[in-house]
């Protein structure tokens, strides 16, 4: 049997979904449609649910009965049961999520975080799945990091370092009690723990850092990525990622593709500056951090504060030495800016642009 979506009967099914379902929004951000007869009477009749089926048997509230049976079936199958081992006791239970990362499939997966006398795990009820699990013997140490989440609220993230070198990232409602519960239990079991620092936890940076390379500064930044479009044109799109300044280079990590999509050696950097640019459309007068380097120019954008921090760090780490060039007339060496702006001190040559300006003045 093949699914169908283009007949009259399926239209009812579609109406049912589109008019009644889909993601809900808080009433205060949308135009309220309550009380407005949105759809024609006949359409409403088509969507009406069957309240009674008494004539043919089936209980008055068959719908409620069905749901009760479905819940009962689930319980009988043990879906709702937590997969505890024998002799395992729960010490702490709390809502939390685990950062799952495999190729491009990355996300916070929510469930309940349990600390038991045997292990730490994050379990999701529906559909039932063990999202994260670590026995105390596998744990080498952990670290906490206080970060502002997207809503600018400060929350704590808990990182668990495995002896194998892997790192698990957890976000419990309250990180401290979890950390404490693990510490207490591991002490009881006679296991040692190491306190780690937050700088060791940048999983993305670990993927591209070379030997002896260290992150100096990291900020979340958008990057105006140029990519070829059909017809030989290039289009520019803002992509989200992180801009890193290391002791060797400046590079931008593209979150979605998980790769370094821009890099410039520190020697190659010619200048940095924050300015307002007009990209047209919705991006009129956008504040950008522009980095001029040996292969051209790159544009980044982010929080004003983040851009300023990055600019400052870039300035202090990159010697903005003046680029030298030869005078086109006599060949004497002079800084480029001086040659272009004031002309050659040796032979008196001035650029065509300056000449033009002089005429206007």
């Amino acid at each position: 049997m093949d699914p169908n979506r283009d007949t009259h009967a399926t239209l009812v099914d579609l109406l049912d979904r589109i008019l009644d379902k889909g993601l809900m929004l808080n009433a205060d951000v949308i135009i309220s449609v309550a009380g407005i007869p949105l759809i024609g009477i006949n359409l409403k009749a088509a969507l009406a649910s069957v309240e009674t089926m008494l004539k043919y048997g089936i209980w008055e509230d068959w719908d409620a009965a069905q749901r009760a049976i479905a819940t009962e079936e689930r319980r009988r199958k043990g879906v709702d049961k937590l997969p505890l081992q024998e002799g395992e006791e729960i010490i702490l239970k709390m809502f939390g999520s685990h950062w799952y990362s495999k190729g491009i499939y990355r996300s916070w997966r929510p469930g309940h975080l349990y600390v038991t006398n045997k292990r730490v795990f994050l379990h999701r009820k529906e559909p039932a799945e063990m999202l994260f699990e670590a026995t105390f013997e596998d744990i080498e140490g952990f670290a906490m990091e206080r970060r502002k989440n997207i809503a600018k609220k400060e929350t704590d993230y808990l990182y668990i370092f495995y002896k194998s070198g892997e790192i698990a990232k957890l976000h419990p409602t309250e990180a401290y009690p979890v950390k404490e519960a693990i510490e207490v239990r591991m002490k009881e079991l006679g296991l040692s723990l190491e306190e780690r620092t937050a700088s060791m936890m940048d999983e993305d940076a670990a993927k591209f850092l070379v030997e002896d390379e260290e992150v100096v500064q990291k900020e979340k930044m958008w990057y105006l990525l140029e990519h070829p479009a059909p017809g030989g044109v290039t289009t520019k799109t803002w992509k989200s990622g992180k801009l890193y300044l290391t002791n060797k280079r400046v590079c931008w990590w593209y979150d979605f593709d998980e790769c370094v999509a821009f890099e410039a050696s520190l020697e190659g950097i010619r200048g940095v500056g924050i300015e307002t640019r007009d990209f047209g459309g919705m991006l009129k007068m956008k504040r950008v951090l522009a980095i001029a380097y040996d292969k051209g120019e790159a544009c980044f954008s982010g929080d004003e504060e983040a851009m300023q921090k990055m600019e400052e760090m870039l300035r202090s780490n990159v010697a903005e030495d003046e680029e030298m060039d030869a005078c086109p007339s006599c060949g004497a060496k002079a800084p480029v800016q001086e040659l272009l702006g004031n002309g050659c001190k040796v032979c008196g040559w001035v650029s065509a642009r300056v000449k033009k300006m002089e005429v206007i003045v």
Binding site: T10, L11, L23, L38, N149, A151
Partner: protein
């Protein structure tokens, strides 16, 4: 198609944003005049997500004309189809969800603020539905066929029928009632076991299942006994189809299988 530059209409205090869905893509792009009433649909990115919207006046789409509404609904669905083709996973919104501007903020700012506040939960929803589609499964039964079957199979009912024959016309009415009650009871208990059986069989092939309200049908002699929304992994819908075909073959039952839909019921 001529490329129209996105104007900053979303920033206007008199403009609302009709919201189709939230896509798992950090794209700022235009989808063309494919929206309701030919409006230009475009995306508003926030971090790794993008809202799919069109600019609209500050009032909901509303009509008493059935065909008009059907047309709007179909267009809403069509935009989501295109968005899914282009971006992959999309959280669908229902019809007529229009973001309004607030005192000091235009609609696009309100939308971005909402996306920022709900970011974690939106990402969770994206993961819940990634690589999956929603299908509707409705199972109908023919009461006449089922009750005939019951009369044939059920010993108790057979007995009442026999007794009925031997009694005079005066007692017939009482027996008829007795018979109806017996059939009704039997149908009830059978429906429960049919429900359990079908539910279990369908469950094997889906990620998540929702029991929806049963609806009226167009055909008089056909009643809906089950109405399920199923979240199905992309490579599993054929398995589900095969299972439903088996159920469809059972005497007195028929199945309607609709979709694939965006995951309206699982967000």
């Amino acid at each position: 198609m001529m490329k129209k530059t996105i104007t900053e209409t979303g920033g206007d205090q008199r403009v609302g944003l009709y919201l189709y869905g939230i896509a798992d893509a950090d794209a700022q792009t235009e989808l063309g005049p494919i929206g309701i009433e030919g409006n230009a649909v475009y995306t508003i990115p926030y971090k790794e997500l993008s809202a799919i919207v069109h600019d609209c006046p500050l009032e909901p789409y509303n009509s008493e004309d059935e065909e008009t509404v059907k047309g709007w609904v179909k267009t809403h669905q069509h935009v989501l189809d295109i968005a899914e083709d282009k971006f992959g996973t999309v959280i669908p919104f229902g019809f007529d969800r229009i973001i309004k501007p607030e005192d000091n903020a235009p609609a696009n700012e309100v939308l971005k603020k909402w996306m920022a506040e709900e970011f974690d939960s939106l990402m969770e929803k994206i993961e819940r539905i990634r690589g999956k589609k929603e299908y509707g499964v409705q199972i109908f039964y023919l009461p006449s066929v089922i009750s005939e079957k019951i009369v044939e199979e059920c010993e108790e009912i057979k007995k009442i029928k026999e007794e009925m024959k031997s009694k005079g016309p005066g007692a017939a009415y009482m027996y008829k009632q007795k018979l109806e009650t017996a059939i009704k009871k039997e149908i009830e208990s059978r429906m429960v076991s049919y429900f359990k059986d079908f539910y279990e069989r369908i469950k094997q092939h889906v990620e998540e299942i929702k029991v929806e309200k049963t609806k009226k049908t167009d055909e008089k002699d056909k009643l809906m006994m089950m109405n399920l929304s199923c979240l199905v992994a992309e490579d599993k819908y054929k398995e589900l189809g095969a299972e439903l075909e088996e159920i469809d073959k059972e005497e007195g039952f028929s199945v309607r299988f609709t979709g694939p839909w965006p995951a309206y019921s699982f967000v």
